[in-house]
């Protein structure tokens, strides 16, 4: 079995960069950080931490993202941000996006950051989101959630094409909300992914986390993605059962270390988890990662957590 080590997306900002952004933007995030020399230096540090830990497929750490939603909305027409809302069961909050007009992509969303990061490292997967963005937003314009979703999917499709134009060969779509969806949601999310991925010359990873994937099985197996990310920390038993009962040609990206605690797992214990997943997947490839982004951790603990991951397959 070939193991590809990866991270999910977010990474804690280096302390100096945090202070820098706070000076630029203040505490209330109305404006967004820009791709400048400081940003590139910060990305370089975060990439360095990942390389040092032995990560094969890296992320730029989403260092300019206020949270998993607002950064994507900020550069789309049709959104404004409102009050703070808790992000799932985390002690972390986001400004709830509200659709107040037709959602359209007039400017690039994350391509500039992606390009900057690519100047430092080739193996980077950019991260987008679609269903979760709509699910966690409030609709004040459409009156029809599906129409709202399809417009976001269309905008993300344009962004995905721009990303491949900038060199991306693998794109991750983060959809934690899917794990809380009903059957109708799962179906419409599949349609949105068809729109998002259409005509994009890249592989897609669907990343899910915070709980087991019961809600999206077996429909998820028909989604137009190549890699399926599952959280084996929060949903270990159930996800094992799901991949056993529903064999698939898709590659699994298994979240096997807990990105939300400073407790460091024993690599041998993680190895056992990996072995039990390995036994159940077909094919010769398995992606391994923390279950979530690492920004839930203090900076020094994020690298240690990646170290546990790589030690477990040494």
């Amino acid at each position: 079995m070939n193991y590809t080590l990866s991270t999910i997306g977010s990474y804690p900002r280096p302390e100096w960069f945090r202070d820098y952004l706070r000076k630029q933007e203040g505490l209330q995030k109305d404006s967004r950080g820009v791709v400048d020399e400081s940003y590139i230096k910060a990305v370089e540090e975060v990439l360095g931490e990942q390389r040092k830990a032995g990560i094969d497929l890296l992320t730029d750490g989403q260092l300019l993202w206020q949270n998993m939603l607002c950064h994507l909305c900020d550069n789309l027409e049709g959104f404004m941000l409102s009050g703070l809302i808790r992000y799932f069961d985390n002690n972390m909050y986001y400004q709830m996006p509200e659709a107040v007009g037709k959602v359209e992509r007039k400017n690039s969303v994350i391509v500039d950051e992606y390009r900057a990061a690519c100047s430092l490292e080739k193996n980077i997967k950019p991260v987008l989101s679609c269903y979760s963005l709509v699910d966690l937003s409030r609709d004040r314009f459409y009156g029809d959630e599906k129409e709202f979703l399809m417009d976001v999917a269309e905008a993300m499709n344009q962004e995905a094409k721009a990303l491949t134009g900038a060199g991306a060969s693998i794109i991750q779509v983060d959809e934690p909300s899917l794990l809380y969806a009903d059957k109708e949601g799962v179906e419409v999310a599949g349609e949105a992914l068809e729109v998002l991925t259409k005509g994009v010359d890249a592989s897609f990873i669907l990343a899910t986390y915070f709980r087991d994937a019961k809600a999206i099985y077996p429909e998820v197996l028909d989604y137009p993605v190549n890699v399926l990310g599952l959280d084996f920390v929060e949903g270990f038993q159930e996800n094992l059962r799901l991949i056993e009962e529903h064999p698939t040609g898709k590659i699994i990206q298994a979240g096997v270390v807990d990105g939300r605690t400073t407790r460091m797992e024993q690599p041998s214990g993680v190895r056992e988890v990996i072995d039990s997943i390995t036994e159940l997947v077909s094919g010769e490839e398995l992606f391994l990662s923390p279950n979530t982004g690492l920004e839930y951790l203090p900076y020094v603990k994020a690298s240690e957590k990646m170290g546990v991951l790589s030690a477990s397959v040494d």
Binding site: P12, R13, E15, R18, L21, R22, E25, G26, L27, Q28, K29, Q66, N67, L84, R86, D89, N91, M92, Y93, Y94, Q95, T261, T262, R263, M264, E295, Y296, L297, P298, Y299, V300, K301
Partner: protein, 322 residues
């Protein structure tokens, strides 16, 4: 606890004077001589006390000049915690998120010297707010205990020692701040047990402050908590929760959040009087404590003072009318 009807009080925090914030920044860069911060804290607390007295607050606290937030401030003084660094809460706001790395045990006092200090500055009654064990654990990493529950109960024992030490020092009113309870209603039993452990044998009047969240999911179970008073944020939600509380006999005193701390708009005395009257739909006037929704620290000093003044005037006028 109070011998006055409709006693006025604060939830805890108050805006720091601009000069104190300036000094805190200077101090973090290491450019202040020894002793400057200590005297700055002391002087700022005096200023807060004067503000509260001028506004007409009956039961005071020190405005939490020394606290930047409500988790690591306590965790740093409890054995078993360590802090590796900051974690984001939202946007560019971070807090020093503690990790539990060893058995939790009482090391030294958390609030006793603050209480003693304030006792020397005012003749008024005092309320001591302290973050509840459930919330501290919920806002920390747990590396040591097998379950979150185990960690919460261990910390509750530590807080219990502190509360007893407070009573020994003379404190008669202690408020447990537990905002995390409303974010995990499925763990309310753990929270309830933690408050029971924390208040066991504590011979003082006790309150529980919960802000945010959907109170309908906590009520009426929250009446089983072993405290004398429940303190809620009500103005911010336009008093919609009154209907929830009316569904069951409200068997505790109520800390009635009647002034919104999330807006700079200063409610008039008449408006606040109307707000306070809504409490009488739930309990008799003698069971009502009048306070703002939450700590005032995010407002400007002037706004915070005006809100408190109007709130106290409203309570005074109502007392005359009852």
């Amino acid at each position: 606890m109070s011998d006055r009807i409709l006693p006025t009080t604060v939830v805890g925090s108050y805006p720091k004077p601009e000069w104190l914030n300036y000094l805190i920044r200077e101090c973090s860069e290491g450019s202040l001589p020894d002793g400057v911060m200590e005297s700055a804290y002391f002087d700022s607390i005096k200023a807060v006390v004067k503000d509260h007295e001028l506004a007409g607050v009956d039961i005071l606290w020190d405005g939490e000049m020394r606290r930047e937030e409500m988790t690591s401030y306590f965790a740093e003084h409890i054995d078993g915690f360590t802090i590796y660094g900051d974690v984001r809460v939202w946007g560019n706001n971070y807090y020093r998120k503690p990790s539990i790395v060893d058995e939790l045990s009482y090391r030294d006092e958390l609030t006793v010297s603050d209480y003693r200090n304030l006792r020397g500055l005012t003749e008024h009654d005092i309320k001591v707010p302290i973050t509840g064990p459930y919330t501290i654990v919920d806002w920390s990493f747990n590396e040591y205990y097998r379950t979150k529950e185990d960690a919460v109960y261990a910390l509750a024992e530590v807080i219990n020692q502190e509360l007893k030490a407070l009573v020994k020092a003379g404190a008669s009113f202690i408020q447990i701040d537990d905002p995390a309870i409303s974010t995990h209603v499925d763990e309310i039993e753990t929270a309830r047990n933690s408050v029971e452990i924390a208040t066991r044998g504590v011979k003082a009047y006790t309150g529980l402050h919960i802000c945010y969240g959907d109170y309908s999911k906590l009520y009426p179970q929250i009446l089983d908590f072993s405290v004398d008073q429940l303190d809620f944020e009500l103005a911010n939600k336009s008093f919609q929760d009154i209907a929830i509380f009316r569904e069951h006999d409200f068997t505790k005193d109520i800390g009635f959040g009647c002034v919104d701390v999330h807006t700079g708009r200063i409610e008039s005395v008449d408006e606040i009087k109307e707000n306070i009257r809504k409490a009488f739909e739930i309990v008799e006037p003698k069971k009502v404590y009048v306070d703002p929704d939450c700590g005032l620290k995010l407002l400007s000093s002037q706004t915070a003072f005006q809100k408190l003044s109007n709130m106290c005037a409203a309570a005074r006028e109502l007392r005359g009318e009852l």
